[in-house]
Symmetry: D2
Subunit: 342 residues, 4 copies
């Protein structure tokens, strides 16, 4: 197993809550089966989509244990193992190894924004001592970035580091990483976490993805993966376009990952209310979004239309609300004037 590249679509698992906001174990087990039956290549608990920071260490361990038990080796598991410091992270690695997961995924340190030297030192320490294969996890919008020279150096020095999951979504960055690493480590795997670029990422050399959308529409991400791999570019492009529409709605119209949670709810799971409190206005917005998502999913035949019906032209039609467009323009303009964005 170790000499084969990690490949395919790994689903970053959402966690269903019960009415007391605790882990809803039966629903989580049911969700695992449902995903595997729909063709996901692997599972990925304790990622950003899985809200790992909102659980305690004990809860994170329990989530992986439940998923490993339910999966029973049908698909490989990538277990998010980032803890408060190197020592705690290594302890988590040991525990997950004992559960038989395929590898762990470790996000670069966050809160503090660390320099590449520190990111290197952190993963080097882990790479030297881990009892299990490690996937680096680069998500510069949330955590310290793992730059190309750091990935190259770690890949050369640490055999146990076998892959990187990159959520930057930047194509040239992916090309640079592959060019820097593959000559020395042909079995090193590159996975993209940016669903809106899955097809082009694969076409420039990626081995697959860890894509939140695959937890909602595993059929679509699997189809996109298969079509792209088969070189059916024109068909794949259409699927990629649809995925962008759906991904944008789930990602940008609610606090992450609430849009994804709402959509999984529409697929028939009781996801419960999240641990991050929402204001009344946000609950209203989420309800509106759920309606939009139901229209989108009904177009694909995954749900019925909502009771009130759906707009002509498609739920994802890009006829932006002019008021919102105007207000967004104003705000973006303000941010620019303040120099907050470039």
């Amino acid at each position: 197993m170790t000499q084969q590249r990690l490949s395919g679509i790994f689903t970053p698992n959402l966690v269903p809550y019960d009415s007391n906001q605790q882990i809803n174990e039966p629903e989580l087990r049911r969700y695992v089966d449902w995903l595997i039956e729909r063709g996901v290549h692997g599972l990925y608990p304790n990622g950003s989509t899985g809200e790992f920071t909102r659980f305690t260490l004990e809860e994170r361990k329990r989530i992986v244990a439940i998923i490993a038990d339910q999966t029973r080796g049908r698909v490989p598991i990538l277990a998010g193992a980032a803890e408060a410091n190197v020592r705690e992270t290594l302890k988590a690695c040991e525990y997950y190894a004992s559960l038989g997961v395929r590898a762990v995924a470790i996000v670069a340190p966050f809160y503090y924004k660390l320099s590449p030297s520190s990111v290197y030192a952190y993963f080097k320490e882990i790479g030297k001592n881990t009892p299990i294969d490690v996937t680096l996890y680069n998500i510069p919008m949330f955590a310290s970035p793992i730059d190309v020279p750091t990935v190259q150096r770690l890949s050369e020095e640490c055999e146990r580091i076998v892959a990187i999951k990159d959520s930057s979504g930047e194509i040239p960055h992916m090309i640079r990483m592959i060019q820097a690493v593959r000559p020395n480590r042909p079995e090193f795997s590159f996975l993209t976490g940016w669903d809106a670029a899955l097809m082009p990422m694969m076409l420039v050399g990626c081995d697959g993805g860890t894509n939140a959308s695959s937890g909602v529409v595993p059929e679509i991400t699997r189809k996109l993966y298969d079509l792209t791999l088969a070189g059916q570019i024109d068909e794949a492009r259409k699927v990629q376009y649809d995925l962008v529409t759906l991904f944008d709605a789930m990602l940008y119209q609610a606090e992450f990952p609430d849009g994804f949670r709402a959509a999984v709810g529409l697929r028939g799971f009781q996801m419960g209310r999240g641990r991050q409190p929402l204001s009344d206005e946000q609950l209203d917005d989420l309800s509106t979004l759920t309606n939009t998502l139901q229209c989108m999913l009904s177009e694909h035949g995954y749900t019925d239309q909502p009771v009130g019906g759906c707009p002509v032209g498609g739920a994802g039609s890009h006829t932006a609300n002019p008021d919102v467009t105007k207000i967004v323009g104003t705000v973006v303009s303000e941010l620019k004037r303040r120099g907050l964005i470039s």
Copy 2:
């Protein structure tokens, strides 16, 4: 006590490690006494300077317990209480209340970058249920920002929210907050976490600061506070200039908070090696920085000069290394070309 504004300089405590990278309790106790003897107005464990994210929940609780026990009421304590979610944070608040601390300080949720609505909902939930006074902690470089309307709304709706610590360092932002809150909550306190602007922040209306420098040179920050309060602007300006030089060296020439840890080491404390691993090059750099800091501190009479002596013109002289300047220029230019900075 509750009707009086929090004011003065609260020191965000560093945590000394023993040779096994565990909390060095005796040294921490000695450090607490030293700080109080040098005139800090309060202590602030589990802040960014105190590396709260690198400890486990149990360790964070122990740090506050040690400091509360050692302080014995001599100065008020502001205890950092941010945990994985609202429920865990409230449990921490209850524990810290039982230790008799003056208030807790709670950073906005991090990792995920939340919208103002979510930040509001988070603190509202806490504000409704906390058994102890709460200080909001705004540090937009690391965590979700707490914007002015959110501060205003929380101050109006939650009596238990009594202050904000703001580390943005932006003067107009501070003015806007004060204008928005003080009319309804005259006892609400504004503390700045940006040492390089302490004097001008106080002159526009701040009540004090939570300043990492005060853990290194409590004499200087106290003097700056007293001079500014007394309206001795010319004298205060000179002290503020010196503080900028020292703060910049500690902040920008090593991974935070290692520069501050190195400087406290020069004041006579065994800080031990930090939990974030460093590369060999970083250790070299830290050694060079320590030498520079020793020169700076010796100018103030707080240490001897290092064995090799110090540069003429002052340790903080702004004669930049031309090579470094050039390389920095190159890098900044690259980042700009990539549109990464504006």
Copy 3:
């Protein structure tokens, strides 16, 4: 030409347009007199406020010629002289020197974002060949930044470079510049372009400002300058607070500099319609803003209230529209999720 520091408030002149969107010379002359009568220390044509990029070279020259002619030496003039390249800029310097202006102000190259080395080389070439004193103009939100080592090096190598106008608004940056330059060039002048921090900037060592607000309420900026210089901190703070409210409204509620243009219109000048086209929605917004500004200016006695009256509690009252607050929150959240802002 003298060894005296540039100091005081220099007004960055707006340019009135006639009905054909050409320079309205009579109104411009009337505006110049009005400003001088209200105590501004100097005039500053062809700055960002003066929309220098929207005029042709010939128009820029004409604007300075008109202002110089009308001023007749009553106050010094700082003429914006940035042109397409060094050669064109030097030609402009020569022309402005022939008009008898006190100095030119030259913004760092824009569009391309240049490295500090290139910014240095650009100003060095100008500094070597200029026939007139030069003020550097740092406005990082619009143009390549001029960093501290570059200011220091230019100040040491070029006698003809005598000042910097800094619009970053960052207090520690100003302190670092002053520390780096003043020891060798005690007569070098530091002017802030950020009205919302004028008082604290002066208290840390600035010599004055080039403040767009002074073109609208020259009485207030002059009062703020005088009170701060006299050490009347409590009085100055109140004026600074009022200025923040007014500045924010003019800066953030319309495309720059349209808010300032609207406010000058309320002071009795025919500013005409700007050269940057506006959508119908923007024209509506500008009309609403004009009403708000009229309320603010009427509180200071500079205008009557608008026909419909003004809100109780003051035009600048911080009762944010909850809808807007919510939408702004959503947008900011989206930008953050996309990693566009930190």
Copy 4:
């Protein structure tokens, strides 16, 4: 003029200077012929690569006139026509129309960072009055961004707006634009200005590019275009990888567009010294880069190796200089700590 989409690779022309830094007309004519002979599909004067901001209006007009005259209709010309304001821009459009160019390209207003509403109003005014087809030019790293709703609205309201050149390099953004525009305007063209993503951009639906690299290695960009169009993905990928290496060296190791100018020099043209002054250190760096570029170009057979030979493993080998890596890390870390980048 036709209903056929603009497609293929348009070369953004560099401008050779003579020893007096004036336009070197004979060399420019020779360069035009050379490009056309090597298969570029079109020419694009007065773009960012062509340093349009460093020329006067008269010079910009002369550059297009020379290129139009030399091209004699062999390939279409896209003429950059952005001037100080709408009126001046429309005058330039009229002049370029009289020269028989295919279309103009107009960058969004720069210096000021305008809101989407203002960007819309600007292009709407142009779209209503232009005598010639218009290509929008979106380059958010230098100018006000043109967002998706703005592109959609302009495409619906203005027949004369027929294409967008997008230099953001972001794949999902390109997909969103195509989805928003193509249903109503099937002949609207999408060109990417980001060479490092040319192949994947085409695979998601782009019609071609305006790529600075095509002015240096027109053979490679043409080959990449043809292979991609033919669906020879594996071969195209290799060429794309090589192009990233070359593009990165030209873009990030010198001030733009000096790396491209140096490389064209190696192809046999006298480009002269640019108008933006360089420091001595920058000249040294440029000389080093020229050597690197010569090695890269010699690998493709376009030049001889430099006299001192080339490194084993390829000029583009990603063995980063550890010192530089370390310093870069430090700087990036500093910028992050200051919150300047996310």
